[in-house]
Subunit: 277 residues, 2 copies
């Protein structure tokens, strides 16, 4: 089963388009976990168990592990998700970008070492820096297009002919790079008009990973209405900090579950609206 | 001492602008190292010892370590270089690019965990994705501008007004992002005209990291003539595979040393030419 098939099945089965981002920050862990050698794994495991009923995917951000020498905990976490929640895809958020020979090693790291189902990648080095990931034909490759941060505009909104650079990237990614249907695109929730533009370019077969909801200020309603496919799917609405740190006491997992449930429901309110179609 | 000061001192002291790239591929290691648990460290240590007399810097590529669960060997390698060859800067090639809160963790990884002197970063997310690295005020931040691979043209040569995107990036990096003199730029040796364009934009204070010599086909002569500063310096001409795999027997380190010496000398022939100034 490919990543795209797995994701389509997860959307149907879970009735959710919420992706829970796993960005563990030890300084924010609740007291029961503080000081434990496996605190990062245990925190994430508790979040995964609490939010799995409301999530279509999990997205660990690798910097939050590598900054703390916690690669082994990341391996264990992804193995845990696969074992306990088979069918829920894991997107490794690492935004890799390098020449082909190096990209082949990043692919090996993401797909063989960590056993991720999909990886985020950076398009700045062009199509030949992305091709090596497609060698893993069952995996997903999610290309940064329009990122959720304010500074992204400096590069991504540069005007190229009658389009913005992020639209050029979206077109190339969808029309030229996506030779095996493995591709997705990242578009920040903070820029709904640009989500709409990318959906128009991408059609209904390409999933959009949408970060920036919650702490970063993106609104779920706008993002879902303009980003969903005609079938009312096609989105991974990612929420990280607003779920992970919903509570800071012993009941942090329960607080995370409640927030995840609320986010899933908020997404689902808007996926059914048809007035914009 | 800052990265830029360290690099200037290394250029003067070593009389070399050769940067030795450390891209260890276990499948290409010579027989004495095959199968050893610390083979990656030992291979790189032998290369470092053999080539240090001819190098102004070392550049480990992190994918070659992380694909093989060899983070501890990378830590040990950088510590070894600092201990044995103080004053030779280590550039960690990781091409990071993420929003500010995540970039702060990548900075922690590169500068606190690995103790690199400089890090390569990707500009696609704009200036606010690069600022967090500057918080380490003695470290270097080397921004991808024009990469050495063929596919880079798809994005980096997109025309924005009367310039190419890589020139827009170079200008923004030098004029707006480089608030503390910590910045360098990556320009591939495979495109000498574009090295010249970036040097014109960057002036003589910004070092250029130039990959793509050797296996990738870039020519040293052209790269050095158009890329050097008026003082005949300013370049990190990176060679990885052509040095690392110069030999494949028990004398691999000697073969690497001879190749590094030859590369250093070839670079130095061209740094003195004045006919192009």
């Amino acid at each position: 089963m490919t990543f795209i098939q797995m994701l389509n099945a997860a959307w149907r089965r879970t009735g959710s388009m919420l992706c829970v981002g796993l960005d563990p920050e030890p300084a924010r862990f609740p007291p029961p976990l503080a000081g434990r050698a496996d605190a990062i794994f245990e925190f994430c495991r508790a979040i995964v168990d609490a939010t799995a009923p409301y999530a279509c995917a999990f997205k660990p951000q690798i910097a939050y592990f590598s900054a703390y020498r916690a690669e082994a905990q990341l391996e264990a976490l992804i193995a845990y998700i696969h074992a306990q929640y088979p069918g829920i895809p894991v997107v490794l958020d690492a935004k890799r970008g390098d020449i082909g020979s190096t990209a082949a090693l990043y692919a090996r790291e993401a797909f063989e070492r960590y056993r991720a189902d999909a990886l985020t990648v950076n398009p700045y080095l062009g199509g030949d820096s992305i091709v090596p990931y497609f060698a893993y034909s069952d995996k997903g490759v999610i290309v940064l297009c329009r990122t959720s941060n304010a500074g992204g505009a400096e590069v991504q909104l540069q005007r190229v002919g009658d389009a913005c650079l992020y639209q050029i990237i979206a077109r190339r990614a969808v029309e030229q790079w996506n030779t095996n249907g493995q591709l997705g695109l990242v578009v920040g929730a903070t820029f709904p008009a640009e989500i709409a533009a990318v959906r128009r370019i991408a059609g209904d077969e390409v999933p959009l990973l949408v970060p920036g909801v919650g702490v970063q200020g993106g609104e779920i309603g706008a993002a879902v209405q303009v980003g969903r496919t005609r079938q009312g799917a096609g989105l991974l609405i990612n929420v990280s900090r607003a779920v992970l740190y919903a509570g800071n006491g012993a009941d942090f997992a329960l607080a995370a579950a409640r927030t995840a449930q609320r986010m899933r429901d908020a997404i689902n309110i808007y996926r059914g609206f048809s007035c914009l179609n």
